[in-house]
């Protein structure tokens, strides 16, 4: 697509200007290495270093936390939509916990969950939980009343109503929530590794920064960008397939 190509060209131009400003000394800083050095470092660390393991560690943590989070989100979202009393019980606490950023949550969580994967996976799951729960709840409560009325006229059982009317209607919302969660969960994975990590891309990033290897630090940033891009593209492709044979709601 013509548009796509221009997008890649834009990126190339930006990277080129980065390279120029660094090499000509227009911007002199340890924290502004030339792009060529970054790419060279990236290749070197992938082939001879442990960048692959590092990425693997991040992805496995992310995957685990994400899956747990979205499952919990869907369940809670439906529960809140179908049983408003439960929603009223827990919504205030959830709404109070939501604004607290990960760095502020880490000290109390470390208390109870330690500094290892358990704590990180928990934070990731909690982050992934919210958008999915909110979207699911919104989607499930927003189902066309007329469909529900028709179902009632025909005395359709609650399970069938759930499966055939509420779920398909909620699906676009759930998927939208999952996509938002994807991006947020990846960010939180990296941030938790930056704060309390011993492995993973986030930790690698900080380690390289303190080892005065900023080219490798930026390489880690490039990797994160690429990971996010790839995961998002994969999700969109899967979403298209899912919507296709699940049939869109009119």
């Amino acid at each position: 697509m013509l548009g796509r190509r221009s997008g890649l060209l834009l990126i190339a131009i930006l990277l080129l200007s980065w390279e120029m400003t660094s090499r000509t000394g227009l911007v002199t800083s340890e924290n502004w290495p030339p792009v060529s050095a970054i790419l060279a470092g990236l290749v070197h660390e992938t082939l001879y270093g442990d960048l692959v393991q590092v990425i693997g560690a991040t992805l496995s943590r992310f995957a685990l936390g994400y899956v747990i989070g979205i499952c919990a989100g869907v369940i809670v979202g439906f529960t809140f939509a179908l049983v408003p009393f439960v929603r009223r019980m827990f919504e205030p606490i959830i709404e109070l916990l939501r604004p607290i950023p990960a760095p502020a949550l880490v000290p109390p969580l470390v208390l109870f969950l330690g500094v290892d994967d358990l704590m990180k996976v928990t934070i990731i799951a909690v982050t992934a939980f919210f958008p999915v729960a909110i979207n699911t709840m919104q989607g499930a409560s927003g189902v066309e009343p007329i469909y529900l009325a028709v179902a009632r006229t025909f005395r359709t059982g609650p399970t069938r109503v759930l499966m055939k009317i509420i779920m398909p209607g909620t699906l676009p919302y759930v998927l939208a929530g999952m996509r938002i969660s994807l991006a947020l969960a990846l960010v939180v994975t990296v941030v938790s590794e930056m704060i309390a990590g011993a492995s993973g891309v986030g930790y690698y990033l900080v380690l390289m920064q303190y080892a005065v290897r900023s080219a490798d630090m930026y390489a880690a940033i490039f990797v994160i960008a690429a990971l996010g891009f790839a995961l998002n593209a994969a999700f969109l492709a899967a979403e298209r397939r899912l919507i296709f044979w699940y049939a869109p709601v009119p």
């Binding site: 924290n31 330690g114 500094v115 309390a196 303190y210 290897r213």
Partner: protein, 328 residues
């Protein structure tokens, strides 16, 4: 089955059993401990000690959890997530003053008698900053407030004609300090190694070191130690002794090999700093034992600067292993 075959099988079974038992006994004889550390040059005795097997020799299997900064280590230690943690003296005393029951179990690092130091006060060449007096009403970057860098910088300001209460201390992470200084975001910065040397190299015409607050205000002053919780110490005195001995062995090796290519490789391995970079930087002094008077000095200093309220007794804080001299 014939008798001889049965005997043969039995003897093989016995051999397997014995070796398995032996393996499990050997595995059980290693006590697992978790140490929270920061992957910087200061932690060389611990990290190199582990790499060289000194801890294994003492029957300890060490799981190091590196943190990017010391801030998260002490609360995690108090929560029992670690058994030992690396800490700068000021933060450790602050924590103890607020009720966290830590004790110093081994020495860490100190500054030397004079500069160049592991941290220096840098300023732009064209700003005319030469003393604390010049910093009044200006901005001084430190990595964290309420830690050793901050307090030594504050003391230096006070002692060179300035007033630390009238200096704005801006918190900036070490890797960003020189950038902020060069761009006039701050007027001075307390930069530690290796960022100090790298900053001077990159901007030799723009920035310079004004002073070495750490050794200027407190020559041979203490900087860091390793701490453990009172409960853990009471429950595992043997482990503490083993840790201290293995650690002392590490310190011994580091003191004997400081500056050699082998040392460079060893430090580079865990800090990921390129060996060439390690050559030019100022190194901390690795202590064999803690000198109680130095801790006392820090307590008094912290009380004077009103960041410590409790009147801590040094004798309660230092565990005997930190005072013991080992020979190897």
């Amino acid at each position: 089955m014939s008798r001889s075959r049965r005997a043969f099988l039995a003897s093989i079974g016995a051999a397997i059993g014995v070796s398995a038992l032996g393996a499990s006994v050997r595995a059980q004889s290693l006590t697992k401990i978790r140490v929270g550390t920061i992957p910087i040059v200061d932690s060389a005795p611990l990290m190199i000690g582990i790499a060289k097997g000194f801890f294994r020799d003492e029957g300890l299997e060490v799981d190091t959890t590196p943190a990017p900064g010391g801030a998260a280590l002490l609360p995690s230690l108090a929560a029992g997530q670690f058994n030992f943690a690396f800490a700068n003296t000021t933060s450790a005393l602050l924590a103890i003053g607020e009720g966290l029951e830590f004790k110093f179990v081994t020495a860490g690092c100190s500054t030397g008698p004079r500069g160049p130091d592991l941290a220096g006060l840098m300023a732009r060449v064209d700003r005319g900053i030469n003393s604390g007096k010049d910093l009044v009403g200006k901005r001084l970057a430190v990595n964290n407030r309420n830690n050793i860098m901050w307090i030594r910088a504050a003391v230096w300001v006070d002692r060179t004609g300035g007033d630390a209460d009238h200096v704005t201390f801006v918190e900036i992470p070490f890797p960003q300090m020189v950038d902020a200084l060069v761009n006039n975001q701050v007027d001075a910065a307390m930069v530690n190694e290796p960022f100090l040397t790298v900053g001077l190299q990159n901007h030799h015409d723009k920035v310079r070191v004004v002073s070495w607050p750490m050794s200027d205000t407190a020559p041979n002053g203490v900087v860091s130690e390793y701490v453990a919780t009172k409960d853990y110490i009471e429950q595992n005195p043997r482990v503490i002794e083993k840790f201290a001995r293995a650690f002392a062995h590490g310190t011994d090796w580091v003191l004997k090999n400081k500056g050699t290519p082998e040392w460079e490789q060893a430090v580079s391995a865990y800090t990921k700093i390129a060996p060439e970079r390690l050559r030019g930087i100022a190194l901390p002094v690795y202590d064999r034992v803690i000198e109680p008077q130095k801790i006392q000095d820090m307590i008094e200093l912290m009380r004077k600067y009103k960041i410590l309220k409790a009147n801590l007794k040094v004798a309660d804080l230092i565990y005997p292993t930190a005072l013991k001299q080992y020979t190897f």
